[in-house]
């Protein structure tokens, strides 16, 4: 892997970010709107049952952590789509860049954007609701890392599908993450799900993280085993998704980048 090539693509997406109001909106506007709506809704519910569990913190922290999954997968899939919309894939791959450098650049762009959006969202929560996300203390680190892992494998899986089937399935870039959202139990305990959905939730690594986060909010601690399970499932899916993306890329080379895009 060569740093200059990875940097080239990161730079390409930084330039795009600078020029695109869509991208700036994605990073700051939508998270703010979401947090305001969810925060105000939770405040309203809280007014009915003042002694109930800290519903505002549960909802907003769930939303915040899901924001990382969303951003990580979005940066991978939408940046791939950006190359397809611009018919720029051929220009990228006639250069010496290789598959792993290409994938790494997506990951770096995702982390960078999340590093901008997440603190911004934390600030919004603090200013609007006086809630400190550092409440999670050291648990904060594994939670964020595991959320990134989920975002990456979702992103690679969707990118593999887009490479195979082209832009006609591009809607998956915006919708696929939400398909697993209900089973990830972002805002409610897994036990709220119907029986069959609880079984599916067992295979969704984010569900363990959200369960753990809620436990930290209510008890101040959680069983680290939840995070270990999440890590193992995430790692398994991540490996599978990268293999799938690679095989899709090889498939595209059979058809030809120009012919397909």
């Amino acid at each position: 892997m060569k740093f200059n090539r990875i940097y080239a693509l990161v730079l390409r997406f930084y330039y795009l970010f600078r020029h695109s109001w869509d991208r700036i909106g994605d990073a700051f506007y939508w998270p703010t709107i979401d947090l305001m709506i969810w925060g105000l809704t939770s405040t309203f519910f809280k007014s009915f049952a003042p002694n109930a569990p800290p519903i505002i913190l549960i909802i907003l922290s769930g939303h915040m952590f899901w924001l990382i999954v969303w951003r990580a997968q979005y940066e991978i899939t939408v940046n791939l789509l950006e190359e397809l919309w611009n018919r720029n894939m051929i220009n990228i791959f006639v250069s010496p860049i290789n598959f792993s450098e290409w994938v790494t650049s997506f990951i770096i762009v995702g982390i960078t954007k999340a590093a901008m959006s997440f603190p911004f969202a934390m600030l919004v929560i603090y200013l609007a609701y006086k809630i400190q996300m550092f409440f999670f203390s050291w648990y904060f680190i594994p939670i964020i890392f595991l959320m990134f892992m989920t975002g990456w494998w979702v992103g690679f899986l969707v990118s593999g599908l887009i490479l195979r089937f082209g832009t006609k399935v591009q809607t998956l870039a915006w919708t696929f993450a939400w398909l697993i959202g209900p089973f990830a139990a972002i805002y409610y305990p897994v036990s709220t799900l119907p029986g069959w959905a609880q079984k599916i939730a067992l295979f969704i690594p984010a569900s363990y993280v959200f369960e753990g986060a809620r436990e930290i909010i209510s008890k101040g601690y959680t069983d680290p085993g939840k995070f270990y399970i999440s890590f193992v499932i995430n790692l398994f899916y991540l490996i599978l998704s990268i293999l799938f993306l690679y095989s899709s890329f090889k498939k595209v080379l059979q058809k030809g980048l120009v012919k397909v895009y």
Binding site: K2, N4, R5, Y7, A8, L9, L11, R12, Y15, L16, H19, S20, E82, N86, R87, N88, I90, N91, I92, F93, V94, S95, P96, I97, N98, K250, L253, Q254, K255, G256, L257, V258, K259
Partner: protein, 307 residues
Amino acid sequence: MDILQAMSLTKKFGKFTAVNNVSFSLKEGEILGLLGANGAGKTTTIQMLLGVLTPTNGEVRYFGKNLLENREEILEQVNFSSTYTQLPWLLTVEENLTYTSYLYEIKNRKERVRKLVEVFRLNKLFKEQMKELSSGEVTRVNLAKAFINHPKVLLLDEPTASLDPETSDYIRKILVKERNMFNVSIIWTSHNMGEVEEVCDRVVFINHGKVIANDTPEKLAKTIEICHVALNVPDGLKRTIEICQNKKVHYKLEARNIVVDLKEKDIPGFLRELMDRGVVYDQISIDKPTLEDYFLQVAPKKAKDEI
């Protein structure tokens, strides 16, 4: 020395064979025209030469090394430009060239970008977004991008297709100059046969996915025996037409002008016969066969033969 070798390249898409056992080579400092009608297999061949399309059979070698096995090392020294590909349209010319410069290991990036901007007359467009540029301007940015890494091999897909005649001529001169100065080897596809005759040292004709000719433009043109004899005939046009019809030669009329297609060796006899029949002509021009004649006559004929 062969800098690039296409060895028995074949590409099949299902039952359709787009490229069939194509072999040719490119020498150091050579400009090779890759010609053929639309759908002949040129783009498919170029994609295989760039490693963005996997051949069904065959091998591509640059500098004696297999492309698939030495992709990164080879592509550091190769580049590509096509009128039909785009660059990210929200980025400015400067940004496109800058990020591309990082894709290759280039020393003095800023200086290189500045030099290319001058060479391809992009100074006024430097801060413009790609979406604001005309197609000719985009082509020039694409060409600047293709030169960013001081390539030893350049693959140019119709590099002057969207340019006005003055800019086309300028770009052709730039490309030939670069070749002369740095010994760059170039593969050049074009439908402009005059351009190909002007710049290419050799041409490879592809038709229906097969190489049907591989020679210098002059030699290929010479394989066509037919010359175009244009005469302005103030007196005796009907007699001239009769002579053409008797000899069963093709002719084309335009007012008092007649253009007769004749083999070079038959021209003196034809002119003598005109004199004998009292035909008066006050202007004559004889156009020797060109690469375009070759393209128009040989390619369709070969295609028909295959059908």
